[in-house]
């Protein structure tokens, strides 16, 4: 036993959370991030924290980490020079994609950059049929020549994607062997290992992204591991994947494509942890930052997994939490378009020059300017006095927009927040209403610098009754890392009719997956009693191309298993599309096994609930815009860190803390729970 450490490495701050298993003691530490090499801040910050809290690296029993290294490399095009080997005649598939243009009406839009330039995409003669039979054997000489050419061209990484490799792996395996002989120093990704599912373009794109990010991620993780080892850390470090589970550094370095959503997933997992703490299992997360906002839905404590998503323009087939991202946040710019309507975004002011109120010379208003003008935010200083702002500049910027549409300044600023709220509500409808869930049955979990600022309006828009604001956003993520299961997913595609498939065939497919899971459990040193697996199958009507994931009951397979699958499928199809096609053939497509290991999770101790009076935390009052009475009204200001469990803050009020501000509107009250979360409800 010892300390469990969670580190969330963000763009601005690196948050470190330490949890002592024996005593339940929690300590947090925050240091500025080092974007050029995030491992510097992580190891440095950890060393500081350990020293400060009187422990040593040897005392760390677990190290969990969430990172944006892979996703940033993808956004900024900082992956490595990559080559592609594919079936002859199909090398341009990577560029053609699904032959759709990037924007329907904007003829000047560009596609996302193709990650492998045309001269480094090489077709090799070979052809497999859809049933896995070989029509044309692999031309090994041509493959060898391709490997040499790519080596000579100076690539660092090679992706291999042959048609139907999910049904016949031998050609890609031969390619791996030849590459290891001719070009052993290259990072190599083969599609049957990275994404063994049908649809060749998406599989190719996934494999290429993996190869493109591989050396970057490997370098980062090795560097971090070395630094941690040098410090004397003995615990095996783990990383959050896009599926919300953690995985060892070695596995993560081979499969960086599975960690592209590591950062946002950490937030969702943290919310899950929060749900476990507070007993609320139906949550919608709302993580609003400066330039973008992530939302996700957790039903009964689980977030839906999707098998494919387009991430920064690149299709990726990997298990990912169903996180929906909107390109809008506090820094989104506001303008009046040529038709006379107010628009928010998609452009953003960024950190510099930032919103008009920062006083760096911009005059275009942002969402933050609306909040400063309406005094939801402190009109003089942000970050508890660290950053001065100028309300007069915010006002002038908003007025320039208000004048154009003939509205008052306050009315326009209020309207800007309504538009932002509507955009966010739209995103939440995608993950709730569109998937058959009613947001009114869920609690809104607001975090990120701007989440708690907008949460009450958003909840009102969606008629959600309860809002949970964790103590601090970054720390929440770091804490989430302490509560995450070790987890990975295995999949296998084989089309079969529900009627025609025999129980022993289904058994065989899943035992194949079990076998792969067992190897992974062994490689992660997971004891037998901690190993958990869960089976699902993707089902559709024969002829459809989009499947619905259905749980497959544990235990031996028999005809009842198929009946259960059928029943679940029909129920889900009816819920999603409003009809079932009785009598039509039902087809099983992809079989999935989720393997996880219950880690020794941190269990936070509730603090005793005290008196409701929050007056000891009162730090002042100011006039803040109240949308109900459409005028400025005196709000009491409370210091979040001085509020203690049981304290109840009646709206209208503002609860201030260094990294965020919570607006408690009139008609609502926020109560501090035993874990220092704010629980806001109408009263």
């Amino acid at each position: 036993m010892g300390w469990r450490v969670g580190v969330d490495s963000g763009g601005t701050f690196t948050d470190i959370c330490l949890f002592e298993e024996e005593t339940g003691r929690i300590e947090v530490w925050k240091v500025p991030s080092t974007p050029h090499d995030p491992s510097v801040a992580i190891s440095g910050g950890l060393a500081e924290a350990l020293e400060r809290f009187d422990t040593t690296p040897e005392g760390v029993a677990y190290f969990g980490h969430g990172t944006t290294v892979a996703t940033n490399a993808l956004i900024q095009g900082r992956g490595v020079e990559t080559g592609l080997i594919t079936t002859q005649g199909f090398r341009d598939l990577l560029e053609i994609g699904r032959q759709k243009r990037p924007d329907l009406y904007d003829i000047h839009a560009e596609k996302p950059r193709t990650l492998v330039s045309r001269s480094l995409r090489i077709g090799v003669a070979e052809r497999v049929r859809d049933d896995g039979s070989v029509e044309q054997p692999l031309d090994e000489d041509a493959l060898r020549a391709a490997a040499k050419d790519l080596k000579a061209a100076g690539v660092q990484s090679v992706a291999i994607t042959f048609l139907y490799s999910f049904a016949h792996t031998a050609h890609e395996e031969a390619a791996l062997r030849i590459l290891s002989e001719e070009f052993p120093e290259a990072f190599v990704s083969a599609s049957h290992r990275i994404a063994p599912e049908f649809r060749e373009f998406e599989r190719m794109s996934t494999t290429v992204v993996n190869a493109y990010l591989g050396p970057v991620m490997k370098g980062y993780l090795r560097g971090l591991e070395d630094r941690l080892k040098d410090m004397g850390l003995e615990a095996v470090p783990h990383l959050t994947q896009s599926n919300g589970g953690v995985i060892g550094f070695d596995a993560a370095a081979e499969m960086p494509v599975r960690t592209v959503l590591s950062g946002p997933s950490t937030g969702v997992v943290a919310a899950l942890a929060l749900g476990e703490m507070t007993g609320g299992q139906n949550l919608i997360t709302f993580d609003m930052g400066g330039t973008s906002t992530d939302v996700a839905l957790l039903k009964d404590g689980e977030c839906r997994l999707v098998g494919e998503a387009v991430v920064h323009g690149y299709p990726i087939k990997a298990p990912m939490l169903d996180i929906h991202t909107v390109g809008a946040g506090g820094g989104s710019l506001v303008h009046v378009d040529s038709g006379g309507l107010i628009k928010v975004g998609p452009r953003s002011a960024g950190a510099f020059p930032g919103p008009a109120c920062y006083g760096h010379g911009t005059t275009e208003p942002t969402v933050t300017d609306a909040n400063v003008f309406l005094q939801n935010l402190d009109p003089h200083f942000l970050l508890r006095g660290r950053m001065p702002v100028h309300r007069d500049l915010a006002e002038a910027a908003i007025r320039s927009v208000a004048d154009k549409v003939g509205m008052g300044t306050a009315e326009a600023a209020d309207g800007i927040l309504d538009i932002v709220t509507a955009n966010m509500a739209k995103a939440i409808r995608v993950i709730s209403v569109q998937r058959g869930h009613d947001p009114r049955d869920y609690t809104l979990v607001a975090f990120g610098g701007a989440g708690p600022l907008h949460a009450a309006r958003l909840a009102a828009e969606l008629e959600m009754r309860r809002i949970l604001v964790p103590l601090t956003p970054g720390i929440l993520c770091a804490m989430g890392l302490l509560m995450t299961d070790l987890r990975t997913d295995f999949a296998s595609t084989r089309l079969a009719s529900l009627e025609a498939l025999e129980a022993d065939q289904l058994e065989e497919i899943f035992s194949g997956l079990d076998h792969r899971a067992a190897a992974w459990f062994a490689s992660e040193n997971i004891p037998a009693d901690a190993r958990m697996t869960r089976r699902t199958v993707d089902v559709r009507y024969a002829g459809q191309n989009y499947e619905i994931a259905v749980a497959v009951p544990a235990g031996p397979m028999d005809r009842n298993t198929f009946e259960t699958i059928r029943r679940e499928f029909l129920a889900s199809h009816g819920q999603l599309y409003g009809f079932t096609a009785d009598g039509e053939e039902i087809e099983l497509v992809t079989y999935r096994l989720e393997a996880s290991a219950g880690t020794q999770k941190a269990r936070f101790k509730p603090q005793p609930i005290g008196a409701s009076n929050p007056d000891h935390a009162l730090i002042g009052e100011r006039l803040v815009w109240c949308r109900q009475v459409r005028s400025f009204r005196t709000h009491r200001i409370y210091d979040r860190l001085r509020l203690t469990p049981g304290n109840a803050v009646e709206g209208p009020a503002i609860i201030d803390q260094m990294d965020t501000t919570t607006v408690v509107p009139a008609g609502m009250a926020a109560q501090v729970d035993a874990y220092l979360n704010l629980v806001m409800e109408a009263h």
């Binding site: 002859q88 005649g89 199909f90 090398r91 341009d92 598939l93 560029e95 053609i96 699904r98 032959q99 759709k100 243009r101 990037p102 924007d103 329907l104 009406y105 904007d106 003829i107 000047h108 560009e110 596609k111 330039s117 045309r118 001269s119 859809d130 048609l163 139907y164 049908f198 649809r199 060749e200 373009f201 378009d337 040529s338 038709g339 006379g340 309507l341 107010i342 628009k343 154009k404 549409v405 003939g406 509205m407 309207g415 538009i419 509507a422 955009n423 739209k426 995608v430 569109q434 009507y541 002829g543 459809q544 191309n545 989009y546 999603l576 599309y577 409003g578 009809f579 096609a581 039509e584």
Partner: protein, 555 residues
């Protein structure tokens, strides 16, 4: 002739401020998008589920577009005629909640070609008709037909009720399915279309419940006024003047060349476009008026302001003229199945005409076509199978950028079908799918490359292929060179094919190569680094390299 309406720059109705309008407009957009996802995800036919050849929209009670989802611009042509026809035929009093109308005819059904089946459902609030949910799906059917006139092209359906107050009219459905070659797919696609509309009806009811029906309707009107203002503001940025452009049209259906031309008058914030084309012909390339309207609305929006909302208001400042009975404004009984390819050339005409006025906004000619290929045959049990696909090509080069390679341009925007899905469902093998070296027109910015797609039939089947720019080349702009022509090539002994139609046997190979886009600007001004990259990547062949030769010193 429409009057010039001087609109105030801001909305006057105080209860309906710009914020509410923006919020409700965003709700409309989200409803049509969700309708589209429902349609795609619940359908069975490859043309919908993978190729997404379908569109969804909301219309107001009077039949004006409130919002169209971003799928296929051509489909607007099927929508704008449909609701007005229903209203004329049945009257508002003849409608009930739960009625569902089906139609496709180009002359009596508001459609632009017969396979695009439109399904529309009126949305009521109490007794009041407030809007329409509408969608169209290209049913991959009515294949291997003649195209001398529309009676050869498939079943003609005027707007009739498929459901009457919520009850399926089995007789109608039976009649429809009996006339289809792949009835199982047709039925499932109809179900998916129904599901999409029902969702639209439900979401609109929620929206009215939230904001009040008067506010939603008023916002719908304001959004159309708003789109009109955006369009006028956009047109105003084009210098006044008369702009003309002419081009020649070729296709697989006939040996002659057609002259197409446009004369555009820009005056203040209004635009008039007059199109000249030959008399309508006994070929599938004729275009009905609504298809021409949808094409011009797309082209003008994409040139003047691509972000204006896609609703009926944007049409108000635009006047579109073409003589009746000509290819670009055909009347009964002209065949229309291949209208999309003609419409692609209409977009190119508009770009060509406006190039002198706004050179930075237009592109050189794109592939100017919608290459399509359809395979059909019979299974051992006697049932039909049909596989249809369309293939993208080069996008014209732009003022400051190369054209996009291998994409669908302008009026269409369908996806390809993955090889690994195609070969599982149909007796066809794909031997190659790649960009064509050297097919993009050279220029300071090069045109996009065309696509080469090679099929091998695994069984005897009937094939139809079609496209344009096979006997001409997509033009370049400002000294840019033209893109390569497209075409079809059959392996030895295959055919004969007449007007793109023929029979193939197992093992026969068909190769399609689509045109590239035209280049923009003098090729000698192309940066040396870009030329080097082109040569390394094989985007140009050694032969074409000569055009860049005076590049020394430029980079």
């Amino acid at each position: 002739m429409a009057q010039i309406k001087q609109k105030p720059p801001a909305v006057e109705n105080r209860s309906l401020n710009p914020i509410t309008i923006e919020v409700i407009g965003s709700a409309f957009a989200s409803i049509v998008e969700e309708m589209g996802e429902t349609l795609v995800r619940s359908s069975y036919s490859t043309n919908i589920k993978e190729r997404r050849d379908c569109s969804t929209a909301l219309f107001d009670a009077a039949g004006n577009t409130l919002c169209q989802a971003e799928h296929v611009p051509m489909h607007l042509g099927s929508f704008i005629g449909f609701v007005p026809l229903i209203l004329r035929k049945y009257g508002i009093d003849g409608l009930k909640a739960g009625d569902v109308f089906i139609g496709n005819d180009a002359y009596e059904g508001g459609g632009t070609h017969l396979p695009d089946i439109v399904i529309a459902e009126p949305i009521f609030h109490g007794d009041r008709l407030i809007a329409w949910a509408i969608n169209t799906a290209h049913h991959s059917d009515f294949v291997d037909r003649g195209h001398a006139h529309i009676y050869q092209e498939g079943l003609r359906i005027p707007p009739i009720r498929l459901h009457r107050a919520g009850e399926l009219q089995q007789d109608i459905q039976d009649l429809f399915l009996l006339n289809c070659q792949v009835p199982r797919e047709r039925l499932s696609d109809l179900r998916a279309q129904m599901a999409a509309n029902r969702l639209g009806v439900r979401r609109m009811a929620d929206l009215c419940g939230k904001y009040g029906v008067d506010t939603v309707e008023a916002a719908g009107r304001e959004l159309q006024d708003y789109a009109e203002r955006r369009m006028r503001a956009g047109i105003r940025t084009i210098p006044d003047g008369i702009y003309t452009f002419a081009d020649r049209f070729d296709c697989e259906a006939f040996d002659t060349l057609w002259d197409f031309s446009v004369r555009i008058i820009v005056r203040g914030d209004e635009m008039e476009l007059r199109f000249d084309s030959p008399p309508q012909s006994r070929s599938p390339m004729n275009v009905v008026h609504t298809a021409l309207l949808a094409t011009v609305y797309y082209a003008v929006k994409s040139i003047v302001d691509p972000t204006m909302p896609p609703n009926a208001g944007l049409a108000r400042p635009i006047t579109i003229l073409a003589d009746k009975g000509t290819v670009l404004n055909c009347v009964h009984p002209a065949a229309v199945d291949g209208r999309l390819t003609s419409c692609q050339r209409v977009v190119d005409l508009i770009h060509g005409a406006l190039a002198p006025a706004v050179p930075e906004r237009v592109t050189a000619a794109s592939n100017g076509s919608c290459f399509d290929i359809t395979f059909s045959g019979q299974r051992p049990d006697g049932s039909f199978w049909v596989y249809l696909e369309t293939i993208g090509g080069g996008n014209g080069a732009r003022f400051d950028k190369d054209g996009l390679d291998g994409v669908h341009v302008h009026m269409t925007n369908t996806s390809n079908l993955p090889v690994e899905a195609l070969e599982v469902e149909y007796p066809i093998t794909l031997l190659a799918y790649e960009l064509i070296d050297g097919s993009g027109g050279a220029g300071e910015f090069r045109g996009g490359m065309g696509i080469r797609r090679v099929y091998r039939a695994e069984e005897a089947c009937r094939v139809h292929y079609g496209g344009s720019r096979m006997r001409s080349q997509p033009w370049g702009l400002n000294g840019g060179l033209p893109g390569a022509s497209g075409g079809f090539r059959l392996s030895d002994g295959v055919g004969p094919f007449v007007k793109g139609v023929g029979t193939v046997n197992a093992g026969d190979i068909i190769e399609v190569f689509t045109p590239g886009g035209g280049g923009y600007g003098d090729p000698t001004r192309r940066l040396a680094a870009a030329v080097d990259r082109d040569m390394r990547d094989g985007n140009f062949t050694a032969k074409t390299a000569a055009v860049f030769q005076s590049k020394e010193g430029v980079a």
